[in-house]
């Protein structure tokens, strides 16, 4: 009984998708705030382009990444627009999995895209994805606690100073911890932060011959500093804190300082979501030996898979969603703090945005000082600030992240954890054929 109508239904669905394929495009995206706003503006797009219908697949970041990788690696053709990060774009472009985006319309104003972001999405001078929003990392702090302790924030803080300040404002009895940092293991979680810390302490992931340097003195110093700092002045159970958990802690007044994504600024500054909106200070990410690679660079981008059969309609959509007009539209309908940040110079020149977002200059500066091609003190063979843009990095980064997580939890010493991480990364790189 059930089957008798299940079969024709399934058949009809397949037919329908065939007939409508000329104008329906399937957009796969992450369910972060900015993308939900984009989904909410579907009607605006369809009004302007009546010949194109949008179909949305919205998934959580990790699920989406797995889903898209399966589809693109098998040439499945299920999606016309994919939301991917700066890490995937160069790797996928090299595999010829993405449509090259040359001759974009003049009105798109390609030169307006922030240079570090644009460079990260280009291969041999052509763009392979368009940036939807971009971010770097910076420091948030509580101006009230700093005033009480008589601390003045310099233009460029150092990690040594941060440790000193953390000791002064740490007050666990009253539920305030000196500093909150990521501890949840994962290449996009704790390792995004730890990589920038290692960079600024003068370390690097690989030497010029692709041999890992995880147990080098720089790594040991950086990770040792991180573990001590968190054990002395961090919140309990830091190994389960990722971006989201730390944002909840900081916005409920439990942290004196927090170094993390610039994209948190809008939410921390919004009194509806944050109890510290009126006592929020911003500063660049702290540095140690070198300013190089001290703050990361990431962007969520829209790309067209080579397997799409509606490439023109897809291109129309992604140029719309990453255009100056789109940013204007979000500003007018959702408020200027909600516009997708970190992609266009014009956003930062806009007086309405400057007025609504006092953190705009810090964000712009952070993004512009991040250089994925030159992020380590000693020369390195790879591109990426907090990532190494090779396919093996997801596995490698997560392995190392777990071992550093174990050191943070006190299950093993920092030296032992890094020695073990070194052996594990060495094995992966050898197996992948980087050296014999």
């Amino acid at each position: 009984m059930r089957l008798t109508y299940a079969l024709p239904l399934a058949g009809a669905a397949t037919l329908a998708s065939f007939a409508a394929h000329a104008e329906t495009i399937t957009v796969a995206t992450v369910n972060n705030n900015d993308m939900i706003i984009m989904q909410g503006l579907t009607d605006e797009f369809e009004k302007a382009h009546p010949d194109i219908d949008l179909e949305w697949v919205v998934l959580e970041e990790n699920v989406l990444r797995q889903r898209l990788t399966t589809d693109i690696a098998t040439d499945g053709g299920q999606f016309d627009v994919m939301t991917i990060g700066t890490y995937e774009v160069p790797i996928w472009a090299k595999q010829d999995w993405l449509v090259e985006l040359d001759d974009l319309p003049e009105s798109y104003n390609e030169q307006d895209l922030l240079k570090p972001i644009r460079d990260g999405l280009s291969q041999d001078g052509s763009l392979y994805a368009l940036p939807f929003y971009g971010e770097s990392s910076m420091m948030y702090y509580r101006t009230d606690l700093f005033e009480q302790a008589g601390i003045e924030m310099p233009e460029q803080p150092t990690w040594e100073q941060v440790e000193d300040w953390a000791s002064q404002i740490n007050d666990p009895d009253n539920g305030v911890y000196g500093i909150c940092l990521r501890g949840k293991p994962g290449w996009g979680e704790n390792m995004a932060f730890v990589s920038t810390l290692v960079n600024t302490f003068g370390g690097r992931w690989f030497d010029e011959e692709w041999h890992p340097e995880i147990n080098s003195p720089e790594w040991k110093e950086a990770v040792g500093f991180y573990v001590d700092l968190m054990n002395n002045y961090g919140p309990p159970g830091a190994t389960s804190n990722g971006f989201n958990e730390n944002q909840a802690l900081f916005s409920s007044g439990k942290c004196g300082m927090w170094v993390d994504a610039t994209s948190a600024a809008g939410r921390l500054y919004n009194p509806d979501e944050s109890q510290v909106a009126d006592k929020l200070g911003f500063a660049p990410a702290p540095i140690a030996e070198t300013p190089k690679g001290a703050n990361w660079l990431w962007s969520w981008t829209l790309a067209i898979p080579a397997s799409s059969d509606a490439k023109d309609a897809a291109r129309t959509f992604i140029t719309w969603a990453t255009s100056q007009d789109y940013i204007e539209l979000v500003g007018e309908t959702e408020g200027w703090t909600s516009v997708p940040p970190g992609t266009r110079e014009s956003t930062y020149e806009n007086p309405k945005y400057q007025e609504a977002a006092p953190f705009a200059d810090f964000v712009l500066n952070a993004i512009q000082t991040a250089d994925p091609t030159d992020s380590t003190l000693k020369p390195s063979p790879y591109i990426g600030v907090q990532t190494v843009n090779i396919p093996e990095f997801q596995a490698v980064g997560t392995q190392v992240g777990q071992m550093i997580g174990a050191a943070l939890a006190g299950q093993q010493s920092v030296d032992a954890a890094l020695d073990q991480a070194q052996r594990s990364v060495d094995r992966t790189m050898r197996q992948a054929g980087y050296y014999d």
């Binding site: 299940a6 972060n32 959580e60 499945g76 909840a248």
Partner: protein, 273 residues
């Protein structure tokens, strides 16, 4: 109080305790769905608050719940029906006409459940791509049917084995063919067992998330994909996620509640010999 009374009281308390522990996460999820995002993450968590439908409103505004729910219903019931059609004859032959290899075949069937599904994701994806089954209800129905088949065959086999052969033989003496034997004797006698097997298969298909997330896009996406779109690594989402989850389990919860009697009867069927 005499010792038997004390024992009874302790057992009652224990049963209540376990029931509450099992029920608590569901209760908390339903409760969280009616909170604001701020209240949902508040520490200490609040038990008393002003309920709001904001989470539900947003969930309904962002996704077409009915479409997802209809997909879930068609796919889970469709796959269960298919599985029963295939499993009843095979369980019949194993229970009443066993050979030397029956035991081995049964164990081999079960062993397919020990393979992690992700191990065959790529080949299945490629097959589905070439057959045009990606993002179709039919494709997911077939996968779920195959996924649940070992369990369905096993359960039916144990239920069928409890039927004395003599009853079927008596039927045959009266001139019943194999088909009549199955339809008029075996099935009515084991109906509670078949019902509970079917219910289990429906519930397993309803809750399956790996294949449904990987093989569907939008047209055939069931409720598991609906839930997956509300958890997020950025921003607050617990109230919305709880509201979405409550909506997703509501149909199967109501269905399970209505059929509770058959379930329990089927699961304890033949337990006392």
């Amino acid at each position: 109080m005499n010792p038997t009374m004390t024992k009874k009281l302790l057992l009652t308390l224990l049963a209540w305790g376990i029931a509450l522990i099992v029920f608590f996460p569901i209760f908390w999820m339903v409760l969280t769905g009616f909170k604001t995002e701020g209240e949902a993450v508040a520490t200490p968590p609040s038990l008393f608050f002003e309920p709001t439908l904001a989470g539900y409103h947003e969930v309904m505004a962002r996704a077409d719940y009915l479409k997802f729910a209809l997909n879930s219903i068609v796919i889970s019931f469709g796959s269960t029906l298919l599985a029963l059609i295939v499993a009843i004859p095979s369980a019949y032959s194993m229970a009443f006409l066993p050979t030397k290899r029956t035991r081995g075949t049964l164990l081999w069937m079960l062993s397919t459940k020990m393979l992690p599904p992700v191990g065959v994701l790529m080949p299945v994806y490629l097959l589905f791509r070439d057959m045009g089954l990606l993002d179709s209800q039919l494709g997911l129905t077939i996968v779920y049917m195959l996924m649940n088949l070992p369990i369905v065959v096993w359960m039916l086999y144990t239920f069928f084995k409890d039927i004395p052969k003599d009853i079927l033989e008596a039927g045959r003496m009266d001139g019943a063919g194999t088909l009549q034997e199955v339809l008029y004797l075996l099935l009515p006698l084991t109906l509670p067992g078949i019902a509970s097997t079917g219910l289990l298969s429906v519930i397993l298909s309803w809750n399956e998330a790996f294949w449904s997330l990987n093989l569907t896009t939008s047209d055939a996406a069931p409720l598991t994909a609906f839930i997956a779109s509300f958890s997020s690594p950025e921003g607050l989402f617990w109230a919305k996620l709880s509201a979405a989850s409550t909506l997703a389990i509501a149909p199967i919860l109501i269905f399970g509640w209505l059929t509770q009697k058959q379930m329990v009867r089927g699961l304890t069927f033949g337990a006392v010999k």
